[in-house]
């Protein structure tokens, strides 16, 4: 048990190093701070602004997508995962935790700066919890895609899910009304994926269904990453046994 804990901690440390020492997550973090500062100035000028949960979720999703793409990026980060021998969940869970250790402080800054001036304590807590869950879900989903698609494609998917995913399914339904063949699958996909709109709805109207969908995707992301990493070692059982 101690060995597994030490190994998982090593994965978390490696993940934070991979995120902090790559220029893209650093740049994303910087942009997030700039956006937060600008919003802070604006909300000071106009104290009647409602709590901006969508901006907080955009911050959370952007950071999670960019950071998550580095965790098992093909190359050194993925090779590390192949080399170590531990329980199947160790690499994805350890690296997700490591990534969250870097991204969550920035998300919390966003929550405090954008939510605190105009929101009640319970509203602020709700926003914080959803933002944390959404960050974890996006990180794990991008992590799960990165070994198969590559880090850039996985980050692009994560960013698309964050930025375009803010559009609610009803708007997608209306927008695709002229293409009925595409409309159904697109709306279904919009309802199934862990997109930004769902997290925003969860802030506005807390409910079990949205929480359940997000948590399912959290597990799917971790499982997907574990599956992709373990595929190298899932050799077919050798057809012959060797006598010692």
């Amino acid at each position: 048990m101690t060995a597994t804990v030490l190994a998982t901690k090593a994965e978390a440390v490696l993940a934070s190093q991979l995120v902090l020492r790559h220029r893209t997550p650093r740049l994303a973090g910087f942009l997030v701070l700039v956006v937060t500062a600008l919003r802070l100035l604006r909300s000071k000028a106009d104290a009647t602004l409602p709590p901006d949960s969508r901006t907080v979720l955009l911050i959370a999703g952007t950071l999670a997508a960019v950071a998550g793409s580095r965790l098992v990026a093909p190359g050194g980060a993925l090779t590390c995962a192949y080399r170590v021998a531990g329980p199947w969940w160790m690499v994805p869970v350890g690296r997700t935790i490591g990534s969250l250790l870097v991204t969550l402080p920035l998300v919390c800054v966003g929550v405090l700066v954008l939510g605190a001036p105009v929101s009640s304590l319970s509203g602020l807590c709700s926003l914080a919890i959803v933002a944390l869950v959404y960050t974890a879900v996006t990180t794990s989903c991008v992590l799960g895609c990165a070994p198969i698609l590559g880090s850039s494609a996985a980050a692009t998917l994560g960013l698309a899910g964050t930025w375009l995913g803010g559009i609610p399914p009803s708007a997608v339904h209306v927008a695709l009304a002229k293409w009925p063949v595409v409309q159904g699958p697109a709306v279904l996909l919009w309802n199934l994926l862990p997109l930004n709109w769902r997290a925003a709805r969860l802030v506005a109207q807390p409910g079990y269904s949205d929480s359940l969908v997000l948590l399912t995707w959290l597990l799917l992301g971790v499982g997907g990453a574990a599956w992709a990493i373990g595929s190298v070692h899932r050799a077919q059982r050798p057809p012959v046994e060797i006598l010692p």
Binding site: T2, A3, L6, A7, K9, A10, V13, L14, Q17, L18, R21, H22, G75, G76, A77, T79, C80, Y82, R83, V84, A85, G86, V232, H233, R234, A235, Q236, R237, P238, P239, V240, E241, I242, P244
Partner: protein, 308 residues
């Protein structure tokens, strides 16, 4: 004692017309303490064989076991350390951080991890640059770090692919010494290299691969019981060389003339007498022990016709 057993292990890539057999079924057994060199031309299947043993690549057919565990399983991977060529390491980390990460997966206690890292740093002579980012390393430095990483993770078997290629001569001799010590501690060392002189100094046994087939399994000690007469010919015309090669089976052409294996009671005097009879002018002759290069040349003359 740790044993590595490979039984009819094979691997091919692709399927149909575009398929390529990288490794035909090959079998061998290695015991703890042995240093086994893998030699062969480019594309012979050395790296494929090493990757199969390391569990980096699934077996196509056959089986391979490390200490009773099938390669690729978690139990086997805990025993095998692999230094790939070229090494793929996270460039964001420093060398010591990378080793700490690997040691955390091997050791049960933080103290054990620190000791393991210090040992690996000393083993691969990383003291001068261990604190620098891997992105700033030269090829030789990266290979030394890969060797250290393999030593940290491989408690029973070290699989080293061209790990001494980029090291400078002084460091290379130090690394050879440490690899020998690792083998002396009971580990199995599998090392692929094109540097035959290094393998002759380091290995106890050599496997020769040719077009994906294991064509020779030679114990280095055996080479010291065999001798070769190396003849420098005055006019190394192809006619005189071919005449000698025909006359002495197993002979191979060298840059200056012919190398004749002294087997079956053949002596250098008899070889020179034959040269005189055949009117082949010899400018110099020397007798030396049989070397890996001779085995490689013999394989090339025997199998070279099929070479792609």
């Amino acid at each position: 004692m740790i044993t590595l057993v490979v039984h009819r292990a094979a691997r091919s890539f692709g399927a149909g017309r575009r398929g390529r057999v990288a490794l035909h079924p090959c079998s061998f057994r290695v015991s703890g303490g042995e240093i086994v060199g893998l030699v062969g031309p480019n594309g012979a299947g050395k790296t494929t064989l090493l990757r199969l043993i390391a569990g980096d690549l699934p077996l196509g057919s056959g089986a391979a076991m490390v200490a009773g565990h099938h390669v690729g399983t978690r139990a086997a991977r805990r025993l095998v350390g692999y230094a790939a060529d070229p090494p793929v390491l996270p460039s964001e980390l420093t060398g010591v951080e990378w080793l700490e990460y690997l040691a955390s997966h091997r050791s049960d206690h933080p103290e054990g991890r620190t000791t393991l890292v210090q040992w690996a740093v000393e083993l691969a002579a990383l003291e001068a640059f261990g604190g620098r980012r891997i992105a700033d390393y030269s090829r030789g430095m990266v290979q030394r770090l890969a060797l250290a990483g393999a030593a940290v993770t491989g408690s029973a078997v070290l699989v080293l692919d061209e790990v001494l290629t980029g090291a400078d001569p002084l460091v290379a001799s130090r690394l050879r010494l440490h690899i020998s010590k690792l083998a002396a501690s009971g580990r199995i060392v599998m090392i692929a290299s094109h540097d035959l002189a290094t393998l002759e100094k380091l290995a106890t046994r050599v496997l020769l691969l040719w077009q994906g087939r294991l064509v020779a399994d030679v114990r280095l000690a055996q080479l010291l019981t065999e001798r070769v007469a190396e003849l420098s010919l005055n006019s190394s015309t192809s006619v005189s060389t071919e005449r000698l090669i025909e006359r002495f089976p197993g002979s191979v052409q060298t840059a200056e003339g012919v190398a004749v294996p002294l087997t079956g009671g053949l002596t250098v005097e008899k070889v020179l007498a034959t040269c005189r009879t055949c009117r082949v002018a010899v400018s110099a002759s020397r007798v030396r022990y049989r070397a890996l290069e001779d085995i490689l040349h013999e394989a090339a003359s025997r199998l070279g016709g099929n070479r792609e």
